[in-house]
């Protein structure tokens, strides 16, 4: 999953490329602190692993995030894509899937098996992180909007409307994308059918050859 999907997040990410990590970092710090306060069990579950460093590469955004976990606490560093960070494991996926994993609405195993999510490095650490996140009952939208204090509820309503609008744009972009690649897809399908036919023919010929060799002379 090195190529990001054609999505509103990708387009938005391209527009956000000029924003340096230093601008995003304070927001990441506040969110990490909020998750720490609201979901202490998340980090407690990861304690047996000892200190771990995860790079979370959001493939459709211009940044990656270094997640540091140690002694029951967590912190996040925002990095540029080109920055190298030593990590026990690197996880790559589009933003939509990573959000789904955070709130447990997406089956992480299924995403990995279909390779919509990929990782490299320490499998045990990745499995533990997946299990801990899934067990934490994180409602990311609530965690974000809580920071608005008395305006948290209206902020949540607005955020939901924005997400709904993004989903609509995503559907439209999917239709647009399919339309653009359909001539190539048709040609690829025809070639695949031809390959299948040739493979079947080869298999039949190999079988006939084996039989002819085993026949008594």
């Amino acid at each position: 999953m090195s190529t990001p999907p054609f999505s509103p997040v990708l387009v938005g990410g391209l527009l956000l490329r000029a924003i340096p990590p230093e601008v995003i970092q304070p927001i990441a710090d506040r969110l990490a602190a909020r998750v720490q306060t609201r979901h202490p069990g998340l980090f407690e579950r990861l304690n047996p692993l000892g200190p771990k460093r995860f790079v979370v590469d959001v493939v459709d955004l211009p940044w990656q995030f270094l997640l540091l976990i140690a002694d029951g606490e967590g912190a996040v560093e925002v990095l540029r894509k080109r920055d190298h960070a030593e990590a026990d494991a690197t996880i790559r996926a589009p933003l939509k899937i990573l959000f789904g994993l955070l709130d447990g609405s997406i089956d992480g195993d299924a995403m990995f098996f279909t390779r919509d999510l990929v990782y490299e490095g320490d499998t045990e650490a990745v499995v533990a992180l997946r299990n801990a996140l899934d067990g934490a009952d994180i409602d990311f939208l609530s965690d974000v909007t809580t920071g608005f204090g008395p305006l948290a509820d209206p902020a949540k309503v607005v955020a939901k409307k924005i997400l709904k609008a993004v989903a609509c744009v995503e559907d439209d972009m999917a239709i647009l994308g399919e339309s653009l690649v359909s001539p190539v897809s048709r040609r690829a399908d025809a070639q695949q059918r031809r390959i299948d036919e040739l493979e079947q023919r080869c298999a039949r010929l190999e079988k006939a050859l084996r039989r002819s060799k085993t026949l008594p002379t």
């Binding site: 447990g104 098996f113 299990n131 067990g135």
Partner: protein, 339 residues
């Protein structure tokens, strides 16, 4: 020892849906999705899903039991690994604590632990784990007569006619797996993982532990390795899988194939009428290592199917088609097509 369904609206003749919970959040999800019963384990080697970041501490189990009981569901605690000689304490504590917390049953495999539970925690139901591999009426009745086993989880090696016949010769409740990953071996007797990693489901509670798993991108595709051995290789675009030895793809006689078992999921949803006819008490869904999204979808689908069966309605199999391993499903030995 008579089991009383906590949900009085549930007819006693209905099939009991027993659902997996790897975390407290998954427990609540399973209960909310319609589980009659949830099974889980402590966060150590006493249960056969001892994966990192998974399972319950004592406080979480207490809260989970309270949540389940408040919603009319039961909680079973799996203590189904085999203790090492001289190190019985973790298993004894697990039984004591499950009983003290108020769980509805313990699922046990080791005969010594079953006797311990009978003597020290007589008020908690004892279920015989699939890990005990009891598959004959004689074996099951022996456990019932001597240790008061109330239910047996049958190994996935029996056909439905065999299960029906077995049920005619025992009064012990039977529980069968209906969905999820499959073991090709007789449960409790597989050492493949132990050969390669030194850890097994029988003693340490993990098959192919994640600590020994690596995935490597190679020129020929994504290689999955266990203990340094390549177990499978997946071409670009091909769905990947977890490297358990029994589901590896190997080269034998110049032919690359799944030698032991293809990565498919058990799915008996369409066969539930036959399962009910075989006289089983409970339907078990595998997957304590899976996430909430999986639990929610599978439990909801099977609860819908159980309810539909009771009402004589058609069963909807499409609801869980995308959750089967490798996108493929099988009825396994329940509908045996080999001899």
């Amino acid at each position: 020892m008579t089991r009383v369904a906590r949900d009085p609206s549930r007819p006693v003749t209905s099939l009991e849906l027993v659902c997996p919970a790897g975390t407290p959040a998954a427990l609540r999800t399973a209960v909310d999705a319609g589980a009659h019963t949830v099974y889980c384990g402590f966060r150590d080697e006493t249960n056969a899903r001892n994966f990192p970041g998974l399972n319950f501490n004592r406080e979480e189990l207490r809260d989970g039991v309270a949540y389940a009981h408040d919603h009319g569901a039961d909680v079973l605690v799996a203590i189904n690994t085999f203790p090492a000689a001289g190190n019985l304490d973790p298993w004894h504590r697990a039984i004591d604590d499950a009983a003290r917390i108020g769980a509805d049953a313990v699922i046990l495999a080791d005969i010594g632990l079953i006797e311990y539970a009978q003597k020290n925690a007589p008020n908690i139901r004892r279920h015989l784990s699939v890990q005990a591999a009891a598959s004959t009426p004689e074996g099951i009745n022996f456990y019932a007569k001597n240790f008061g086993i109330a239910r047996v989880v049958l190994p996935r090696v029996l056909t439905l006619p065999e299960i029906k016949e077995l049920n005619r010769h025992t009064n012990v409740e039977t529980e069968v797996f209906v969905f999820g990953g499959l073991c090709v071996m007789a449960e409790g007797r597989c050492s493949l993982s132990s050969y390669v990693t030194g850890k097994s489901p029988n003693k340490t509670g993990v098959c192919s532990p994640a600590s020994h798993v690596t995935y490597e991108e190679t020129g020929a595709g994504l290689a999955s390795k266990l203990g340094g051995f390549t177990i499978n290789r997946f071409a670009e675009g091909e769905p990947a899988g977890y490297p358990t030895l029994c589901k590896g793809r190997f080269n034998a006689n110049d032919k690359i194939s799944y030698l032991f078992e293809e990565p498919v999921s058990l799915n008996l949803l369409q066969m539930l009428p036959d399962v009910a006819d075989a006289g089983v008490t409970a339907l078990k869904i595998e997957g304590r290592q899976r996430g909430k999204a999986y639990v929610e979808k599978v439990v909801r689908a099977f609860r819908g199917a159980v309810d539909a069966l009771e009402k004589g309605q058609k069963l909807d199999a499409a609801a869980i088609a995308d959750l089967t391993e490798g996108g493929q499903e099988t009825a396994g030995a329940y509908r045996k097509a080999w001899h």
